[in-house]
Every structure is written in C-alpha cells, then in structure tokens.
C-alpha cells in the first residue's frame, strides 16, 4: 500500500454530520447579528459632544452619572424578565425587527449561585426550629446599544438569608 492508496482509504471515511439543532442555532445567531446591524445602520449618529475627549474631573463626573443611570435602567427593567437559578440565561430582549434605534436593548438577565452557607439550626421559639442558610448570588444584567454595538453588563452581588423550617422525627 503506497501513500496514494492510504490517502484514498482515509478519504472514503465521511466526517460525522452536525446535528440539525446546530444549523438552527447558527441561523438564529446570524439573524440576530443581522438585526443588530440593521438597527445600527438606521440609527442616528451620536451627537458630537459625546465624543469629545474628557479631562479626569469630567471623567469622574460622567462615571458617577453613568452608574446612577445604570441603576435607573436596572430599576426600569421589565419585571417579566425571567430569572432562573444556577446561572441559566433567559432572553428578555424584544423579538422581531422593530427595535427602537434610540434605546439600549436588554439582552439577558441571569442569576448565578455563588455559594450557600449553612449557619446551623436556631430555635425561634422552643417548638419552632429553623435552619438558617445564607445564599450568595450574583445577578448579571446585559444590554446592547444597537447604535454602536456597545455592550453593558452590570453585576450585583447579593446575600440572602433563608430560614427553612425543620421537623425532628
């Protein structure tokens, strides 16, 4: 068997085909990218004063203003956006091609469990024991500005105390 025979034998093996789901996922991603591109092309350009170089003092001011604006946007997020534990992402963005070009778009909201601390059993009353748990999570909000493709992510660490009723057999 020479090299040509060996190459011929190898070429007779067909690489496994991808799943149908993969094609759907690529189709979805390309459609989303096209939608963003279209929205960005039709949006009006940002005013010139937003692009002026800033001194450190004005930079500090705008950083503070940006943080305040982010909090306002976060509070204004639609409450219907689903949040699931264990870090799964549920899209809460708008569907269809009718994007308002002058607004940033919420893309996703996730909540990731960082850790759980068992703080032991406490008796609120002598006949009412409760297991105290401290749950640490991080909420992550993501937006995209279709005008320039900028992505904004805000992470808010949270600590929740949970009391679970306990029954002793």
């Amino acid at each position: 068997m020479n090299d040509a025979n060996l190459e011929h034998l190898l070429r007779t093996m067909t690489p496994a085909a991808p799943s149908a789901e993969l094609t759907d996922r690529v189709k979805h991603d390309l459609a989303l990218a096209a939608m963003f591109r279209e929205a960005a092309e039709t949006a009006t350009p940002l005013p010139a004063q937003h692009r002026k170089p800033m001194t450190w003092a004005s930079a500090a001011f705008w950083a503070g203003a940006g943080a305040a604006a982010a909090v306002v946007v976060m509070l204004a997020l639609p409450q219907g956006a689903a949040i699931s534990p264990h870090g799964s992402t549920l899209a809460s963005g708008k569907s269809g091609n009718t994007l308002p070009p002058d607004a940033i778009m919420p893309v996703s909201t996730t909540r990731e469990w960082v850790g759980v601390e068992d703080q032991g059993i406490r008796f609120v009353t002598p006949d009412n024991p409760q297991r105290q748990m401290q749950v640490r999570t991080v909420e992550r909000y993501r937006w995209i500005d279709p005008r320039d493709g900028a992505e904004y992510i805000i992470e808010t660490p949270q600590i929740e105390s949970v009391a679970l009723p306990v029954k002793f057999q």
């Binding site: 040509a4 007779t12 093996m13």
Partner: protein
C-alpha cells in the same frame, strides 16, 4: 429576495463545511456537543466578516475553530476540576468522529483508531489535509506554522499510519487510488 439568497448562501456553505469543522474541533474538545458549540461560534464570526463565504478565507475559519477550541479546552479543565469536587460528572459515551459505515465497518474502525493514535500535531495536519481539503500553505496559515513544518508533519503522519496499519494490510485490501489528472 436578496435576504433569501444570503440565507441560502450561508446554509449551503455551512452544510459543506460543518462536518469538516466538527471533526477538526474534536481534536481538542472533550465532547461532540462542545465541538458543535465551537463550530457555531467560529462560523458565525467568520460569516459576519466574510458574508459571501469567500473560499480564500476558509483557512481563517479553521484558525478560528482552533483558537476557540483551545479556549474551550482550558475552561473544560477548570470545569472538570469543579465537577470532580462536587461529584458531578459528564455522561459517558459520545458521538463517533465519522459517519457510521454501511460496509467495511471493521476496516473503517481500524482506520479511525489509527488516525486517533497519531500525535496531536500530526493528526491536526492529516485532518486539515484529507478531510478539510486544504493545501500545505493554507494549513500553515490556519495553524501558524511554516509550510515546511506542515509538510514534514504530514509525511511523518503517513509513515506512522503505514506502520500502524501494516499488520492489517491484507484486511484493508489496499484499494487502488483513483487516477489523478
């Protein structure tokens, strides 16, 4: 109409390239599902930069698959450590690298095992050359190596395959290669 054409273009291109890209991605990823994730990311990025699917840029697509696969492998190692620590583990068994053969099942498995036994750098070149259909220069572009290095790796790979398959020469039948023009 134009959107339909573009839609057909990427689908045609994807149908042609996806099996080859998947095979290439599986050189590094732990599972077929990970390889599909890699191919999805690489193809979407590539198509956005090359909306017509220019064939001259296919080596860049393989380079993207390589780069993303290596990133995924790094995170796989971290994830495996986490899962080991928390008693979570991936299910055993995965999809085969090649389509199930209708005939000559044993010979195909023999060839697959021989290819998988190659050192990683030689297997990469064989994959890109045999199933990717790339030239030495294109492989060099995709892997960041020189053309001479790529060519010598390919030669070593063929030598190794001959050595591994030598005991099975009779079984394989040494089918004649098609005449080239």
């Amino acid at each position: 109409m134009k959107a339909d054409d573009t839609n057909n273009d990427w689908q045609r291109c994807f149908q042609e390239l996806a099996p080859k890209l998947l095979l290439y991605a599986r050189q590094w990823t732990a599972t077929a599902a990970d390889a599909e994730d890699v191919v999805q990311m690489a193809f979407v990025r590539w198509w956005q930069k090359n909306p017509g699917g220019n064939r001259e840029h296919i080596p860049l697509l393989y380079a993207a698959v390589r780069s993303i696969s290596l990133d995924v492998r790094k995170s796989d190692v971290r994830r495996a450590k986490r899962e080991l620590a928390s008693d979570l583990s991936m299910p055993e068994g995965d999809k085969p690298y090649f389509d199930p053969p209708v005939e000559d099942r044993e010979n195909r498995q023999l060839l697959e095992r021989a290819v998988l036994s190659l050192p990683a750098d030689q297997r990469e070149v064989v994959t890109l050359r045999i199933w990717g259909g790339l030239t030495y220069a294109e492989i060099a572009k995709a892997t960041g190596e020189t053309t001479n290095t790529v060519a010598s790796r390919y030669r070593y790979a063929l030598t190794n395959l001959h050595r591994v398959l030598a005991p099975h020469r009779e079984d394989l039948g040494a089918a004649p290669a098609p005449a080239t023009a």
